[in-house]
């Protein structure tokens, strides 16, 4: 997997209604703040080296909250619980191209989560995981526009962002 990925990493491309070229897939991402709410957990993807929020695709037979909690555990070792749905991201001008050539129009549900157990560790999908200061995280070029998920969450709106 890794040599193939390194040569041909997962890419996100932008263009007018380019999402049409992909198969619709539903994903989730998770914002976990540190204790003081001054930091946020990010992971670094094995496949393209980019930092991102923990998250992944929703599998048949699970709810979106279960998918989010499972992905965070798989990628970081932390047990979390969904607290709030903070945004839906469905930019039609974005397309994700995987190492195997498959194209996807990925719609992402972002949740704020809280830690209920576990210890931070890495997985096959992540080469690094750490808490970044929020001011730094929102300035980073996170995978798939994830910095926007953090910014929207912090905007002070109590209703979910619809994009």
């Amino acid at each position: 997997m890794q040599p193939l990925s390194a040569k041909n990493p997962t890419k996100v491309v932008y263009g007018d209604r380019i999402g049409k070229e992909g198969k619709l897939r539903l994903g989730c991402s998770a914002v976990l703040f540190g204790k003081d709410r001054q930091t946020v957990l990010l992971t670094r993807r094995t496949d393209n080296g980019q930092w991102c929020l923990p998250g992944g695709m929703v599998d048949p037979g699970e709810s979106v909250a279960e998918a989010c909690e499972r992905e965070v555990f798989e990628e970081t070792g932390l047990r979390v619980r969904v607290v709030k749905l903070t945004g839906v991201y469905s930019n039609p001008n974005r397309l994700t191209i995987y190492p195997d050539g498959n194209k996807a129009f990925v719609i992402v549900i972002n949740f704020e989560v809280e830690q209920i157990g576990g210890k931070l560790r890495l997985s096959d999908e992540t080469t690094d995981a750490q808490f970044f200061s929020i001011s730094e995280a929102v300035q980073m070029e996170l995978f798939h526009g994830h910095a926007e998920h953090i910014r929207d969450l912090l905007s002070g709106n109590s209703a979910a962002t619809i994009k």
Binding site: L24, D59, E62, S90, A159
Partner: protein, 155 residues
């Protein structure tokens, strides 16, 4: 005909599909727009699948226009329904666990009309809706929307 099966984690037998639905109140916020499906006689909110290359709000406004003739604007996301214990089987044999985003919408134009897929359309109050044959999660969406809270219900 479309079949809906319920059972522990039965969603595993299908693929994930993303849908949306719309709650549109009348001016007094007492009645909700419902249509009656031609294929099975059941009442439902305007709803349908999200297509690649459209945002979820675009999908919601498009489906509402197609099914009711009304042009609407999405105002908030009231609920997400993603029960893994429900499987939808279409007449072509395709099986899906449908995850639905429910939006409150406001009217910006158009006139209510019937489509090929609907035999009835109208605004109904909650007491009437209680007695109607309506998809259970759509009934849930209506009460979620009436609750009027900012946070999205995770169902």
């Amino acid at each position: 005909m479309t079949q809906i099966l319920y059972g522990d984690r039965i969603g595993r037998q299908g693929n994930i599909r993303l849908g949306c639905s719309a709650v549109l109140f009348d001016v007094n916020r007492e009645k909700v727009l419902l249509t009656r499906r031609a294929d099975n006689g059941q009442w439902c909110l305007p709803s349908g699948g999200v297509e690649p290359g459209e945002s979820v709000s675009e999908a919601c406004t498009r489906e509402t226009l197609e099914e009711t003739g009304l042009r609407v604007r999405v105002t908030r996301l009231t609920s997400i329904f993603s029960s893994p214990d429900r499987l939808v089987i279409y007449s072509d044999g395709n099986q899906f666990q449908i995850i639905t985003l429910n939006f409150e919408v406001s009217e910006i134009g158009g006139k209510p009309v019937l489509s090929d897929e609907t035999t009835n359309i109208g605004f109904y109050c909650i007491l009437e809706i209680e007695t109607m044959d309506i998809l259970p999660h759509h009934k849930q969406f209506i009460s979620d929307t009436l609750a009027g809270q900012d946070a999205t219900f995770i169902r």
